[in-house]
């Protein structure tokens, strides 16, 4: 019920004019993306908290602007209930296979389910104490096993450090392994149209290069989806 009415009580007719005046150079192009699921009834789907674009369309507002894409990412398709683009309908590429590791595959069209599948896939591939996906604010997006809040928060610091390093050295993405006490925290940076995320894995040993290669391909498929026959929505 919370999202079914305006909380701001703002006069929409007047708002665009105010915005244009106050911002001077920024065009008034408010976003009005697809509806957020209303989690009001029993059993209703709980919206993922990262579904930040999932506000109901506001009356009288123009067509939502396109989300800027990162280089090398496919164009986003229609938005899902989670407020993120659904996987494109183009023919899927076959999963890349890296020797020793099963190819990651998730038929779901839901980003959240694919990310959960990714974490499960990591746990199946390498013996680990914890695996998680954190956003760049250090908040968990998906966590399995015993990820500690400090490890997830550390992912935010590591992402920040990787961003700083990129200002010194060309390149994109990256990963870092940090020995902390008896365990090693690995954080792999992922840039997506929805922001930067860190894939965290806590292990006793270093991760094999082959696994990182396989993880890179898996992350690509998890975030960008792979159309599948009869996939869940």
């Amino acid at each position: 019920m919370m999202n079914s009415q305006s909380l701001s009580w703002i006069d929409r007719g007047r708002w665009a004019g105010l915005l244009a005046k106050a911002t001077e150079v920024l065009a008034p192009t408010p976003r009005a993306p697809a509806a957020r699921p209303l989690a009001s009834g029993p059993g209703a789907a709980v919206p993922h908290r990262r579904a930040r674009r999932a506000t109901p369309p506001l009356p009288g507002l123009p067509t939502p602007p396109a989300i800027p894409r990162l280089p090398g990412t496919p164009p986003p398709g229609p938005r899902t209930l989670l407020g993120v683009p659904a996987p494109p309908a183009a023919a899927p590429e076959p999963p890349r296979t890296v020797a020793g590791y099963p190819p990651f595959a998730s038929p779901s069209r839901s980003l959240e389910e694919r990310l959960q599948a990714l974490v499960s896939w990591i746990e199946a591939c390498v013996p680990c104490h914890a695996a998680f996906i954190a956003d760049d604010n250090g908040l968990p997006v998906v966590e399995h096993l015993g990820a500690e809040p400090g490890q997830i928060a550390a992912a935010s610091s590591i992402l920040l450090m990787l961003a700083s390093l990129r200002s010194l050295m060309q390149g994109s993405g990256g990963w870092l392994s940090l020995k902390l006490g008896e365990t090693i925290l690995h954080v792999v940076e992922v840039a997506t149209p929805w922001g930067r995320f860190g894939i965290g894995v806590v292990t006793d040993d270093c991760l094999p290069r082959e696994f990182l290669t396989a993880l890179s391909a898996a992350v690509e498929r998890a975030f960008h989806g792979e159309p599948a026959e009869g996939g869940s929505t």
């Binding site: 305006s6 909380l7 701001s8 703002i10 920024l26 408010p30 989690a39 935010s156």
Partner: protein, 267 residues
């Protein structure tokens, strides 16, 4: 000098916390920063341990005191503070009215513009008096929106005043909106955030969100920016570093050159 005013019609949205920690983040990044307090309650002074709350400041600068006697140099060589000073409580309304005059702040801060690359200006809640004067003077406005409904309902007031000032020739523009005291697991907080994201253009709302974090409270209790709370700062410190990095291109800041120079360990 780029002057960024933190302005909100509503009180308690985290303006002073934002000012202090953002100024510290910019200074840590090598920007020569002046943190200016225009709130007669002296929020900045009360947020810092030491002599800031009792020191002379903006009030005295306006009364004719020289800038070098009222500006406090911090231990960070890139961060200086102009506290508000001791407002004339008996003539507070007169002082506030004086501050609302667009020319007053401009004339007193003009001599400082060549010394500092960047000014962050804390304002009292509301849109009158000192806040009105700051809106008239600043080059850029950052509007914090506390993620609760009342804060969202008053954003139109700032837009109205800013629109009026711009029609009068003011240079300030709304450069960014930041969500503060966020608890996105809370449905109301999330709903307010979503409505803010929908109301403003995507380019205007910072991706960085200031969470409701106990470490900020702890830093306030100790009178320090959160980055100085302890030798290994808490993770929330990164929020302000990231916000500063996000703001730099929006404010038209060029590459810093300060940090290319050696930094002397001793004076």
């Amino acid at each position: 000098m780029i002057s960024l005013a933190i302005v909100s019609p509503k009180g308690g949205v985290g303006k002073t916390t934002l000012c202090l920690n953002l100024a510290f983040a910019f200074a840590q990044a090598g920007r020569k920063t002046l943190l200016i307090d225009t709130d007669p309650q002296g929020g900045i002074g009360h947020s810092l341990s030491g002599k800031a709350k009792d020191a002379p400041g903006l009030v005295d600068l306006m009364a004719g005191e020289s800038a070098d006697r009222v500006i406090m140099q911090t231990r960070n060589q890139y961060l200086s503070i102009l506290p508000v000073g001791q407002p004339p409580w008996a003539q507070l309304s007169t002082w506030s009215a004086q501050m609302a005059d667009p020319e007053v702040l401009a004339s007193h801060l003009a001599p400082l513009e060549s010394t500092y690359e960047f000014a962050i200006i804390d304002t009292p809640a509301g849109l009158t008096g000192p806040a009105y004067g700051v809106l008239s003077y600043a080059t850029d406005i950052l509007m914090p929106i506390q993620t609760e409904p009342l804060s969202l309902r008053v954003v139109g007031q700032l837009m109205e005043v800013l629109g009026h000032l711009k029609s009068q020739g003011a240079r300030a523009k709304l450069s960014a909106v930041v969500l503060t005291m966020a608890r996105l697991r809370d449905d109301t907080s999330l709903s307010v955030s979503q409505e803010a994201w929908a109301l403003f253009p995507e380019k205007l709302v910072l991706d960085t969100i200031v969470p409701r974090d106990a470490e900020l409270l702890r830093a306030s209790a100790h009178g320090v920016p959160v980055g100085l709370l302890r030798k290994r700062p808490p993770p929330v410190t990164a929020v302000f570093d990231r916000m500063a990095a996000e703001l730099e291109p929006r404010l038209g800041m060029t590459e810093t050159t300060h940090d290319e120079q050696p930094i002397a360990l001793l004076d």
